[in-house]
């Protein structure tokens, strides 16, 4: 059988039994769900769908999926998709991270790794072609990012060198993904980390790795990318993509870091003090103030001509030694103005601390802002925290961040993420805290507000996204526009970087590599719709601790309905009518009913008949016929 663009094999590791085996990736599954996010949703459904509601994302029955896609390694820029049942949304989030593990996996002859069960003691997984080992990670457990990186890379490369240097020469170092203390402690906002500051943040998969006592996954491959159907066409496409991407000089120079001040001033949609405002007149967050701390070089991942990353390093002062990427716009915003921090150095420091602890900077910035507003409002007190938590006090935020990562004191509650912390603290204090919690379906929203209407999220974007508040996967209207939920579902499934998408190139790559006749049109009508529909069903199934009700939860965070109190778009807010009408239109396009539940006809059309019992369970729970 000729399956082009895939290894056709998945590595399945059972940590409970300490065993592994290779399983076939069937051609029809690959064709229907492509890879990455789509494949994750399908594999999770196939394995856990019957009892989805009972599966604890942090229990041994959850699976951790580390997947590539058919374009990985070929398309400029490398990405790896991490997934599983999300401890944030209780659905499926396809969380992508730049990591050479993706290239190594394909070079080692796998399309991905499925990790099941849980180990009793800390372990890490080492994969080198057919050689798969579950190794002790006692010596790494508890370590922060830098130390984990250092020790693991020394250990792995040292070993390779010993074995292979004299015989066949030098090999490149293996790549790995890992977790920091936050993941180990099952913090729901913990990320899966790569290099030093690359994070698969959305979804909370760092906590899933932690629950499996899995500190890291390291991979070394020696082979080529899986065979393409039309290699010469692929060669031409790579050249074409390079020349298109090379033109983007602004991106190369500053990446998203250039957004810090721009987003606030021009579009007024940057979180400020837990989204109480979305504009600030401080000029300190401009890119020129960050450049001063940048290590003067470009930094890119495998095959990427754009190199949007910038390494920041503080060389003096009280935060000396702090090193991070950028910070990119998201972390500038969330660990900056969102906390009332307007000092770039403090922002670099907080961002590097999040990396070091293995926390998602977006989600953690979101929960820190939430806590600080509760402190401002007097709901949380000095007694609750053990110290004062005032806007702009970077050291206090750093302290709280460490407490979250280690689940100490109030940090234990905040480690549950904004949604769950709001419920817990609300109960404790006897007040409704939902209006301060800026999340959607358990996922803290990205640093892009919808009130001014000048940035990309539309009124209904966050309300209906199958990945909750994930700003990288925004539903938009009209549905076929370049950057919307359907295109993100493609990027996360083919597993490529969304910053590198250029016109129709990704679809041309897909055809050249796999030989399948999947165009943008068929993607919109069939493949993309199938993946989003499956994700939606799993999201609505939910459980075991939280369930989403479309009538209540297909909505923006309450804060977005409060008028903007300042800035050029003062007075504006999201319009409820607009949300409702956009929702209707979007659900209609997808073939879902008014509650956003896929109709029987849609399931049949998409070859998803097997979801019928699940859809019935959802209807029953909602009392909706």
């Amino acid at each position: 059988m000729a399956l082009y663009g895939y290894a056709g094999r998945l590595l399945e590791v059972d940590l409970s039994r300490g065993k592994h085996r290779v399983v076939e990736l069937e051609e029809d599954v690959a064709f229907n769900f492509i890879g990455g996010r789509g494949l994750a949703a399908y594999l999770l459904w196939r394995e856990l769908g019957d009892r989805w509601e009972e599966v604890d994302p942090l229990g041994p029955e959850n699976m951790l999926l580390v997947l590539t896609g058919p374009l990985t390694g070929y398309y400029p820029g490398v990405k790896l998709c991490i997934s599983g049942k999300s401890p944030q949304s209780n659905g499926v989030v396809g969380s992508v991270v730049s990591s050479e593990v993706a290239v190594e996996l394909r070079a080692a002859g796998y399309d991905g790794i499925v990790v099941k069960g849980a180990s009793k003691d800390p372990v890490y997984l080492y994969v080198e072609g057919e050689n798969v080992e579950i190794r002790s990670a006692e010596h790494l457990w508890g370590l922060g990012g830098t130390e984990t990186y250092r020790r693991l890379s020394r250990e792995l490369w040292g070993d390779l060198k010993r074995r292979l240097l004299a015989r066949e020469g030098l090999t490149k170092e293996p790549s790995f993904i890992y977790i920091g203390p936050a993941g180990e402690n099952r913090v729901r906002t913990a990320a899966v980390m790569a290099k030093l500051s690359h994070a698969a943040g959305y979804g909370g998969y760092g906590a899933v790795m932690g629950s499996k006592m899995l500190k890291a996954i390291a991979v070394k491959g020696f082979g080529p990318m899986p065979r393409a159907k039309h290699p010469d066409w692929v060669k031409l496409l790579i050249r074409e993509a390079w020349s298109a991407l090379n033109r983007n000089v602004l991106w190369k120079h500053w990446g998203t870091s250039s957004g810090g001040y721009e987003v606030a001033s021009l579009t007024s949609s940057e979180p400020v003090r837990n989204w109480q405002e979305e504009w600030h007149d401080s000029r300190s967050m401009g890119v020129q103030n960050y450049e001063a701390h940048w290590v003067k070089r470009y930094w890119g991942d495998y095959g990427c001509p754009q190199t949007c990353m910038k390494i920041s390093r503080l060389r003096s002062g009280k935060f000396s030694g702090a090193t991070t990427d950028g910070p990119d716009y998201e972390l500038q915003a969330y660990l900056g103005p969102n906390l009332g921090v307007f000092e770039p150095r403090a922002n670099v420091y907080l961002s590097s601390l999040a990396d070091e602890l293995g926390l998602c900077g977006i989600q953690t910035g979101n929960v820190l802002g939430f806590a600080a507003e509760l402190y401002e409002k007097g709901v949380l007190t000095r007694e609750d925290l053990g110290f004062e938590l005032k806007w702009g006090d970077a050291e206090a935020f750093a302290r709280l961040m460490s407490m979250i990562a280690r689940r100490e004191g109030i940090g234990d509650c905040l480690a549950e993420g904004t949604a769950r912390a709001a419920l817990k603290l609300g109960k404790l204090k006897g007040v409704d805290l939902s209006k301060y919690a800026v999340h959607v379906k358990g996922v803290g929203v990205g640093a892009h507000g919808a009130r001014s209407g000048k940035d990309f999220p539309q009124a209904f974007t966050y309300a209906v996204g199958v990945q909750g508040g994930d700003h990288t996967s925004p539903p938009r209207l009209p549905v076929d526009r370049q950057w919307g939920e359907f295109t993100s579902a493609f990027e996360d499934s083919a597993v490529i970087c969304s910053f590198n998408v250029h016109g129709d190139l990704p679809f041309q790559f897909l055809r050249a590599i796999t030989g399948w006749d999947i165009t943008r049109e068929t993607w919109m009508r069939v493949h993309g719709r199938r993946i989003i529909t499956l994700q939606r069903v799993l999201l609505l199934l939910g459980g075991p601790d939280l369930y989403w009700d479309p009538r209540r939860d297909d909505d923006n965070p309450p804060r977005f309905y409060e008028p903007l109190p300042s800035g050029p778009f003062k007075g504006r807010s999201v319009s409820r009518e607009e949300v409702e009408s956009q929702k209707r239109e979007y659900f209609g396009y997808l073939g879902w009913d008014s509650l956003g539940i896929p109709t029987e006809e849609t399931l049949r059309e998409l070859g998803l008949d097997y979801l019928k019992p699940a859809v019935e369970r959802i209807r029953k729970r909602l009392g909706a016929g």
Binding site: R167, L170, P224, S243, N246, K252, R297, W299, R313
Partner: protein, 167 residues
């Protein structure tokens, strides 16, 4: 450029993008193949990238070490060329190479090393078009003896200090 050439590497300008690896493997293997690329970029610590390829040592220890006369120096470019027919994969050249650039192909098990693409290096083109210019073609005579035939981890250590100011 008349006469033998050398690919000069400016480590500080290298972004770690690996376009050079992709270009090299596309040219020599027809596909993306990181470990079969004749130039490889090592990243022992995030952000510290070391492009590693043949240093064309003037005394060519690899060529001297080969008992089967499988290696020779191309007169016009100065590159080490491998005769796949004669190469037995014994690894003597690998052991002789001071920077461990020479190695055996992961699949064919024959010696592989940068052949300077016959004088038109693909890696240099890719690096230049992307605007990094970490690799540049210079006349062979302008380069100091054996400066670049070192192990990449040693280069990385020095580079780390330059870039990050040490620990």
């Amino acid at each position: 450029m008349a006469g033998p050439i050398f690919i000069l590497r400016d480590y500080l300008r290298c972004s770690g993008c690996r376009l050079c690896e992709v270009a090299c493997s596309l040219k020599h293997e027809g596909t993306v193949w990181p470990e079969a690329s004749r130039i490889r970029v090592f990243e022992f610590f995030p952000g510290v990238d070391v492009p590693h390829l043949c240093a064309q040592c003037r005394d060519y220890p690899c060529v001297k070490a080969c008992r089967y006369s499988a290696l020779r120096v191309d007169e016009s470019t100065g590159a080490v060329l491998v005769d796949g027919e004669k190469c037995t994969g014994c690894g003597d050249c690998v052991r002789a190479c001071p920077g461990k650039v020479m190695r055996l192909h992961p699949e064919t098990r024959k010696a592989i090393v940068c052949d300077l693409c016959g004088g038109e290096p693909e890696c240099v083109k890719a690096c230049h078009e992307a605007g990094f210019d970490a690799l540049r073609v210079v006349p062979y005579t302008s380069v100091g003896f054996k400066v670049y035939s070192t192990m990449p981890d040693q280069v990385a250590q020095r580079l780390f200090e330059t870039l990050f100011g040490g620990e």
